[in-house]
Assembly symmetry: C2
Homo-oligomer: 439 residues x 2
């Protein structure tokens, strides 16, 4: 016998046991069903893209984390695994701009790859679930409300009532900084983004280090007041009389998004206007979103996104503005399980197991399993020989709620003994009543 | 402006337009629904595995076609993309043998990678849809019938009535060669596998070159008779009085599989006992299957598989026999489209598009789109401003069957004008009757 290879997977990859995988797939399916229900079209781009496409925005952190493919077969084009869907979406929209219809509403669910340091709850291979609406030349601000509303519908279906959409608009901040004559606006944004994490004192200190005056810093903090309602924040900002067009555009967009989210049935209490949310990525230009779970804020944002002015500027001269949000499903699933927050009501995965007592009962059992499946009831027949105890033990392990026992008497009388594994009750019924009884 | 990067993908990758992707996903969903209905559990192993796992069977052709990953981040373990699911299944079963329950019934649908020379209809990234039933120590022969029966259910749901399962058993051939005292049995099997492709004369010639005597060759061809029914073939083989235990086991297994497939509701005419089917891969040890479409045999086998004695011998000393079949979905989809064989009856992907005439109609439109989605009717509201003609042109391009027009009169009267895009008919109905009317 050859030496055995130790069966194992690489660190940083999630692999589930079958029962966990069933639950994961249920979550994934809920997400997809909502994407479809809202009229988003599926997209399934290659996992491998040309490196010049993936790195078209420039290298940096991304290029260090990328999984490069060594020459495979005949191809010598530098290629690598995608690290998100946004680059592929941009490439796709530019490549097919005359075959797709704008506003282009697409979803993509699949795996992406980042060579991050692997640690608890962080994965190098993970599912992302993205939706984007991409316009040509322009895209109405109401789209910025529909996208988080769809995400809200998903979290509701997942039973996560404590979900809070923190919304902001970068124009509002950028315009305000312009108004305050602050030049290093990107740096200030990045610093403010840490407000919830490191607190006001540390943020003030960092802003000082960026060269902001005391007056500028104090005026920045005029934006933030604790304990206000969403309406109070908007009213106050409108009353501040900031003479800057970008600020005023941002503010009116923010109000419009806030109000339209509610029109799309997101309850007011699930929306938090939060001016400290800025999103790290440079390419967001308007609305920005982060999503937290009330009481579980330490998990971090579970769904983020925002508005970008120009999706595909590296690939086309056409201006393609868009709005998108993304759920990092693998990490979310891990965290929801850790926090014991996932309690989906669902039919048992496998509803019936048929146990024939002897070989001669097999064909009757096969007839029954066919009838069940035809009626859409998931069913399996145990085809192995062996003692009844072993057969029941298999049923136990699978967690199947109904065991259908078939012996000589059942077979000759056209009946079946149905055992409810949760109550232990058992009764013999006619095979013609079986479907009715199980439904 | 920076130089533009040409938006394109690598050769050998399938990327679809949204409408095609919808159709592809429908096919994938039909496959998955059947897998679930038959009580197979999902598995989702990493796309990247350690090279020592992937190549545990030894290199050869596989190692040339493998997509290797260059060192990504901190990991220095040699790793590569999976080229099938079987290796990962073997690794998984060995790794988790005490956490999973045998017979272990799993399905996996996902992408695999092979650096083949790219050509029309051949892909380097493609979906496989696999089912396997893995036993511990032993596994009843009836499983070998259930697996193709499940595949038959799928092809029926896809509307491919002309599907033909060609079945054989390698024991039968191996035992027969043993009986004929032929030593190079693997070579003979591989040669016979080409019978349908290259014809009897060429096969005879190749067998001669392998050193077989005239008498051996003529006795091999005694196995094949044209124009016989399945029953006639089985009866004739049983009458041949071949004194070899392996042969007799293979023959009785073949009969059992043939009869049990019919018990599992596969019509007799969809089964072809075909002794020339041997499957190239060495690890099949009993039942083997290929699937052809009547009238489209040139497409080749659209679903193949078989029985193996020992799945995970490279990873564990436990003996894990199994039976599995696989659909190469990407190639199948391509071929079915090429041959115009795919005509799924399905609801339109997007059923309703709401067109508000003016800005002031938006919130009423949002109210309606919410009601539709709540009722499970896929719907979109057109949020952009613009002329009515442009809005209708968008509806046309999306191929949406119902357009819901909202203007001032509809809004003030609580109505909606529903236009059937296929007939051109338009009628105003109360918003309370909308769901009823559309269902």
């Amino acid at each position: 016998m050859a030496n055995l290879v130790q069966p194992s997977i690489l660190p940083g990859f999630m692999e589930l046991l079958p029962e966990e995988q069933v639950e994961f797939n249920r979550v994934k399916r809920i997400i997809e069903k909502n994407f479809i229900n809202y009229g988003f079209f599926p997209l399934d781009t290659p996992l491998i893209e040309k490196e010049e496409i993936l790195l078209s925005k420039g290298g940096g952190e991304t290029s260090k984390q990328i999984f490069r493919i060594e020459k495979a077969g005949e191809s010598s084009t530098p290629q690598a695994l995608r690290f998100d869907f946004t680059v592929s979406l941009a490439r796709y929209c530019a490549q097919h701009s005359h075959e797709i219809h704008f506003p282009f509403r697409r979803y993509q669910i699949g795996k992406v790859y980042r060579g991050e340091r692997s640690q608890r709850g962080r994965y190098r291979e993970f599912y992302q679930c993205d939706i984007d609406i991409v316009g040509r030349e322009k895209l109405a601000i109401e789209n910025d409300a529909e996208v988080p509303a769809l995400m809200y519908a998903i979290f509701s279906d997942l039973g996560l009532e404590g979900v809070r959409f923190h919304i902001n608009n970068r124009k509002l901040l950028n315009g305000y900084f312009e108004f305050l004559e602050i030049s290093c606006r990107e740096d200030v944004l990045r610093t403010l983004d840490k407000l919830a994490k490191i607190g006001r004192d540390k943020v003030e200190k960092e802003l000082e280090e960026l060269g902001l005056t005391e007056s500028q810093i104090s005026q920045i903090f005029d934006l933030f007041k604790e304990g206000e309602t969403n309406e109070e924040i908007l009213d106050r900002l409108e009353g501040m009389e900031v003479e800057n067009e970008v600020f005023q555009t941002g503010l009116s967009e923010l109000r419009r998004v806030y109000e339209t989210m509610q029109a799309f049935s997101v309850p007011e209490e699930n929306i938090v206007i939060d001016l400290s949310i800025t999103r790290g990525l440079d390419y967001y230009t308007g609305s920005v979103f982060e999503t937290f779970l009330k009481g579980y804020e330490s998990i971090g944002s579970i769904c983020s996104g925002g508005r970008y002015d120009d999706l595909a500027s590296n690939f086309t001269k056409e201006k393609l503005p868009g709005i998108g949000m993304s759920i990092g499903l693998t990490r979310l699933f891990y965290q929801l399980k850790e926090a014991d927050l996932l309690h989906l009501e669902a039919e048992p995965y496998l509803k019936c197991l048929i146990l024939p007592m002897g070989k001669e009962d097999l064909s009757y059992g096969i007839e029954l399993v066919d009838v069940l499946r035809e009626a859409g009831i998931t069913a399996q027949i145990y085809l192995e020989s062996g003692k009844l105890k072993k057969k029941f033990s298999y049923a136990d392990k699978l967690g199947v709620p109904y065991v259908l026992i078939i012996g000589e008497s059942e077979r000759t009388e056209g009946k079946v003994s149905v055992k409810d594994m949760r109550t232990g009750e058992q009764k013999a019924i006619s095979k013609d009543d079986l479907i009715q009884d199980l439904k």
